[in-house]
Symmetry: D2
Subunit: 335 residues, 4 copies
């Protein structure tokens, strides 16, 4: 961390600041220039509050050199984190397909899709029970009933389940769910993150629509700081000025997050594009960029889906895509 | 709502679609072109799910003409909503100053600031008890204790209180709080919005960092649809590529939200800029643009504030600003 | 095109509008609702000025249904455009590698890099002679001398050349250049686009940092409307709130532009990321998403490059990447 | 400037780097930490190429402390720059209104509008002769003829003229034009900036749609580095995810640019909003925030304007706004 001091800082003020930072366990190094004096802080600055420093009268600016996250940081944990749920493995050198409908709609639907995606190679079943919808007048998901149907599908196919939690009060219902999904809108719902940290259950954490890599990793850090290191990062598109696609898939998130962190990185091409035709090219791109997995919406009858129909694949097109991905993964593993 | 149909839609398919929309209580009007057929829907389309329509095989695109919100819409409620809490009035042709520290830190601090801002003309006291912080290692607020101290300050000064809720589980603690604030990160925490709708208490709803006006109004609609029409909209800066300021204050939100909705619009210049020097010009700009109120951070000793110190005004500079705002408001009311 | 009319439009006003649009050769179709009347325009609306319509007193809003570009539109030209320069072919089902240094720096450098990238499979040599630099104090390129050295490298290796023009006044110097590059900052330099349209030479048109797909295609339309259909579209990253990477590569531009247009689409992963480590994963992603080509910075000594060194590959790493891309392309062509 | 070095940098490598920076006239100060070594550069770093440094093998990152612009920097030039054209003064403690139609359309139109805006207090006439239009099929301006008509209006009213240049080749036509406008799309047309620097004529430089304050000031620096310090900065809205307004007016640009630079700052509320109703509130906001001037579109018959009609004021509404602005300016000058 570097503190840039204002021009007319006195030696005494500088000294007081130096003592203060020492009390936080870091060592100050001072560089005096003609116009500018700089104090470099050496040591673990993770717990130093950059805003507290910035507000001091003698401080012009503070710049971080080290990342403010520690548990999620590859520098302190060079090996890939590998998360195992049932027969599925996420992270390391594997490619994990997570598939299923946007919303659970009926027992018949979820079991039919679950069997189909399992046959095509999916290792985890996704499906929404609690649905965050922009409009209060739109379908809000089957809720408790949806969770039950997902567990039926798990019993039927053996596939572990990932589904989204929308509020802490729903946590008890997630007992038998394998991976709890935190949606983009909840990425900075810090009370929820703390509780999921205490729960110890694998968490799939989606990047917020306008959240930086660092903010995503700080949210992962919340979960990890409260005792849970089973975190899967998920890029699902960010908000930009381009409106042709629903969001803009940030493909660089794959190499970037894998460089910054040891946590597995999964891509959701369905929500990013919002256009079924683009799911296949974006899935290929994600794996070619090094993603550990994909989370893809598959619906047995996309034209009748209760939400996000336009972005869902049919089981047939998912099967075709899965085959192409397998060929691609082989090339990727050749290095 | 307009449905643009694919080129080779048959007359029968068109007919089926027409019957379907009629069953939702709206009337279809068809325009057949050489390359394109268009179906206009006439009637109340608020409850029609645009995504369900988009996914139909024969549909190329769907465009909304009417806004998807109704309770919050000025078209159906032309008069300004005016919200009264204690002696404070928000909305209509008044200018309401909300002021106080970012965080409650001690009884002495909050009472001292409350008295100061009251003397300068503030009508409502703000102060954070539960603080959303990006880092799990940063100060998280005094929580329950902070709420108690805010109520002490209310007793002392008579000022009504606005403070932020971070999770539904905290709701009981907000019984005597006058206005519940929903932070930018929780703007689409729909379970929270529903419950606040049921609570009937005034809600100050902050716009999310990357949320459109329409999404903000849809979140207000959630609260209103569940029975609560006491909603104050708050613009606090959006996220852009510019990093010199913490966020980019979207000043056009004032005329835009007031055109689209009858709800009062308040500006938070402190969080938008993140720089104390800019609070005064941005406050003046907000009132000149027609804002109903301002929410400003004031700290008796900004250089020792536990959070957001750099953006807080001193009581002296707040007092000076309040005087300038009063002169400005006079001009604004002359029309 | 759909015109949404204001609520109290009279029959006579509506009639006048209908006559006006007929005079532009399109047919109006009117849908009258209780609150809203809509006029659909059927026919070629490319030349109708949406802003002229919007400003009419009786008009509330105008929405386009058809794209405003025609020459660049796949709907009117379903077959892929294929551009041939020397032995290189861009578009169709091929994968064209364009490689070379950011800046031409010396005869030795450009010829050495040209030979290296040719041996690795590059079909076109890139190299900057005129360099757009944010700072007036930074190296501005070798200019005329740089063009000469590029032509030396062409003579030596037979590789066709692509290099950037910065101003119309430089056009004469580009006589023997094979493909003229228009940089992101000049994407809407309309006078330049018109002249390049008249020139008939292949143009590589980079997407602006904050330009939509439609704006990129409208700039291509400028070139095409002035008589030149040899346009290559290039995505090179857009500007977002994320600052870890220099720009955010919009990988969805590949399927989106190929759906909207018949023009070839090339990706520049070097400028998008600004980090050499990410060039390889982003290149793989681009080809997996269906790109027709890649434009990659390669420098024989990146640590001494006069500009953009951090994002350049060494000839060795380019060679390794080219091999991986060849394996990937094979899978892509299997469908 | 601070150079953050990679972990295993040797003493010798560090020494070589230190010698190199000394050769640029700056003094290196080294801070060695356990994991990280930092080199602070003391002196004038304006001409040091941050990219050249970043690319060195031993360098992890480089951070600027000082701004990279010097001529435009308030630190080196604390007094406001005041620009005088004819009777108009821009900068200092005045408020300058620039008004006129988007496009020059006829002698009658431009003279009529010029007289009207002059009567209402405008000091400078604006009007487009060369019009940058997204579509090649839209009206491109009256070009040479438009310039002539502007000069007629100048003769008639005595108002100095500001109008946009689109290409260097048009420069000769601007001989009698008082202020040359560089549009948002040309903000980084560096060849144009250099030539305008050499011309010595006042330049109104619009901020690009996705350009940072620093980039805008670097473009001003281009003009100033080539000998012309008559630069007026103009904020006209940036591109964000919000589509209700055409662009998002960044009101913080006023205090920010005035803090960073001594150059006058003018706001264009017409282009920012794209909605005539918002021009008045945004104009008031701009002046309340401290802007030196406003550039407003006024058309005698907005519903027949050939471009940008929907955002133009009528002479009557401009007159009303000008009166309100005068009252506001009085308050602003009271401090």
């Amino acid at each position: 961390m570097i503190i840039i001091l204002k021009e007319n800082t006195t030696a005494q003020e500088l000294n007081t600041l130096a003592e203060m930072v020492k009390s936080h366990g870091v060592t100050p190094h001072i560089t005096e220039g003609v116009h500018q004096t700089i104090m470099g802080l050496v040591g673990d600055t993770t717990r130093i509050d950059i805003e507290s420093l910035s507000q001091l009268k003698i401080v012009e600016a503070v710049r971080r050199i080290q990342e403010p996250f520690k548990n999620a940081n590859r520098k302190f944990h060079p090996m890939d984190t590998v998360i195992t749920v049932g027969d599925a493995v996420i992270g390391g050198n594997s490619l994990t397909l997570i598939a299923g409908p946007c919303s659970v709609e009926s027992e018949e639907q979820i079991i039919s899709v679950a069997r189909d995606v399992k046959n095509s190679g999916a290792k985890i079943l996704r499906g929404g029970a609690f649905k965050p919808r922009t409009s209060p007048y739109a379908f809000q998901g089957m809720r408790e009933e949806g969770i039950k149907l997902l567990l039926e599908a798990k019993k039927d196919t053996g596939l572990p389940i990932v589904t989204e939690i929308m509020d802490l009060s729903q946590l008890d219902l997630f007992d038998e769910i394998d991976i709890i999904q935190v949606g983009a809108r909840n990425m900075q719902n810090f009370e929820l993150l703390k509780q999921l940290g205490r729960s110890g259950k694998p968490v799939l954490l989606k990047r917020g629509l306008a959240s930086t890599y660092q903010e995503l990793l700080m949210s992962a850090e919340y979960i990890m700081a409260f005792g849970n290191d089973q975190v899967i990062l998920c890029e699902r598109g960010v908000r930009t000025f381009e409106t042709y696609t629903r969001n803009t898939l940030d493909i660089s998130a794959v190499p970037a997050l894998k460089k910054l962190s040891h946590l597995p990185v999964v891509i959701d091409p369905s929500h990013a594009a919002g256009i079924a035709d683009f799911v296949s090219p974006l899935s290929m791109a994600a794996v070619a960029a090094g993603a550990d997995g994909l989370m893809i919406e598959v619906h047995n009858d996309p034209s009748k889906a209760k939400c996000d129909g336009p972005q869902s694949l049919t089981p047939e097109s998912f099967d075709k895509l899965a085959k192409k991905l397998t060929s691609l993964k082989k090339i990727m593993q050749e290095d």
